[in-house]
Symmetry: C2
Subunit: 257 residues, 2 copies
DNA sequence: CCATCTTTGTGCACGCGTTCACAAAGACAT
DNA sequence: ATGTCTTTGTGAACGCGTGCACAAAGATGG
């Protein structure tokens, strides 16, 4: 359209939408795969397909980073890998501590994707004294008592909480007090943190429940596609109010085929 | 898909926004905690605080389910627990299979939150023949060869993929072909599935990268000079193509950590 | 029964994210 | 050079989700 630059987005690096940031790792992964196959350039259409998004969205996402593409050709894979890496802060090393070395913590410690890109497991921490010294994924587990020192010595700013729910908030507070400002929480609890601390949560139970909701909806649609008795839900709710006592473990007339 | 002809689910659920559905498990957890403390009623304000959301949002969320509150009093805890459980489909039993019993798969199998609410680990499946028969979390691992039969015999409609990335798509296709219509994917891959199949993904690596982005941003703001890890040579190229990095005040004054 | 007080349920406005659609930009062939 | 063809970058419209602010509903006390 207008040849003239109307208004360049004055604030570029700061203005990256959160939704875009969340997709950058996806693009990066797809680009890395292309890079390993020595593909020199890629179009927005191809890359979008690989990342599982819409091409217009991808182009808009990239437009927040700058004009890194070449019209008529596409994007230079290597260059884009570098730009996104830099934007995400992956060109530097991030020491990470994992607190709570149970099944999940051990799984995380062993997770290859950890070390692969900028992240390094600096320490494993557990409250169980009998775990102390025991190596997990080649890293000796240390006791919670030393948490503050570990954080400080290693300059850790990202912490992963894989403890039971009951311990999570307390661990969180100690991490924050020790200087951690980003937390990845696997415990099924709402963490409260001061301003300036980022928390992201990964909750298996919630994901499953969301799936169950859609699963139920699908089953319902399929079963009575044309019934459409909206008011019936009312009656069902009323009737359910009577029968509803132990919403926990009871199984209502399920008969697996 | 084997689970079919149960009873009719609420037809009203069609209008529940996705964002609301994603929060229902959060409310449910908070409500369950209140229920265990025998708290009879709770106000939107209190419950919202417990769930870590805004009270107006909570009320609006509940309004999609119906008018289950009492003005001047609040919500009946037990009743709400039941309503949300029903809405999410947790009053029925959901058999789940976990494919890929490595560190992560084992952690998931052992995860208590699984069985606690509606979900039941029906089977563990792995491609490694030496795993076959070996019990994990009290459940014997079965071989991938029997995947279709396991799905069918147990009426499984929800599958969890915890395999390496390379195997995920293939496993996914077999699950779908066998009748699974909801998939929780822990493998770092974009799964492509036919319409009607829901996929949710949990990706540790992505979460960490998002945290790193914000962490870098915080560090940059705070010290104004923490853009340390920018690679020299390529940074020059980048600066040449782009007119500097932070137009909004974050200057790339390099100061290596 | 009436007044007051608490808390829900929701209309409304706003901002963010998504998507469409297309002009501008460049590559490439002639 | 010039024209054609491909693909980017983005203005604009739209829809969803969020939060405010308040009237309606009901409890509670006198």
């Amino acid at each position: 359209m207008a040849t003239g630059r109307t208004h360049r987005p004055a604030t570029r690096s700061r203005g990256i939408p959160e939704a875009t940031v969340a997709r950058l790792p996806l693009y990066l992964r797809a680009l890395t795969a292309l890079s390993e196959r020595s593909v020199p350039t890629v179009s927005s259409e191809e890359l979008a397909a690989a990342a599982g998004v819409n091409s217009a969205k991808l182009r808009k996402d990239f437009s927040y980073l700058g004009s890194y593409g070449t019209r008529g050709v596409g994007y230079d894979v290597e260059y884009l890998v570098y730009q996104i890496s830099r934007e995400l802060g992956l060109t530097q090393d991030w020491p990470v501590v994992i607190v709570g070395i149970g099944n999940l913590g051990a799984a995380l410690a062993n997770y290859g994707g950890f070390a692969s890109r900028g992240f390094r497991v600096a320490a494993l921490i557990d409250a169980d004294p009998s775990m102390a010294g025991k190596p997990v994924a080649g890293i000796p587990v240390q006791h919670t008592d030393d948490l503050e020192k570990i954080i400080d010595d290693n300059g850790v700013s990202i912490g992963v909480i894989a403890t039971p729910a009951g311990a999570a908030q307390q661990v969180c507070e100690r991490l924050v007090a020790a200087g951690v400002t980003s937390i990845l929480n696997f415990a099924p609890t709402v963490l409260s943190v001061p301003d300036g601390v980022d928390v992201r949560k990964v909750d298996l139970s919630i994901e499953l429940q969301i799936l169950a909701f859609h699963e139920q909806r699908k089953a319902g649609e399929e079963a009575e596609a044309q019934a459409g008795a909206v008011l019936e839900a009312e009656a069902a709710a009323a009737a359910a109010k009577e029968t509803g006592k132990g919403p926990d473990g009871d199984v209502p007339a399920v008969m697996p085929a």
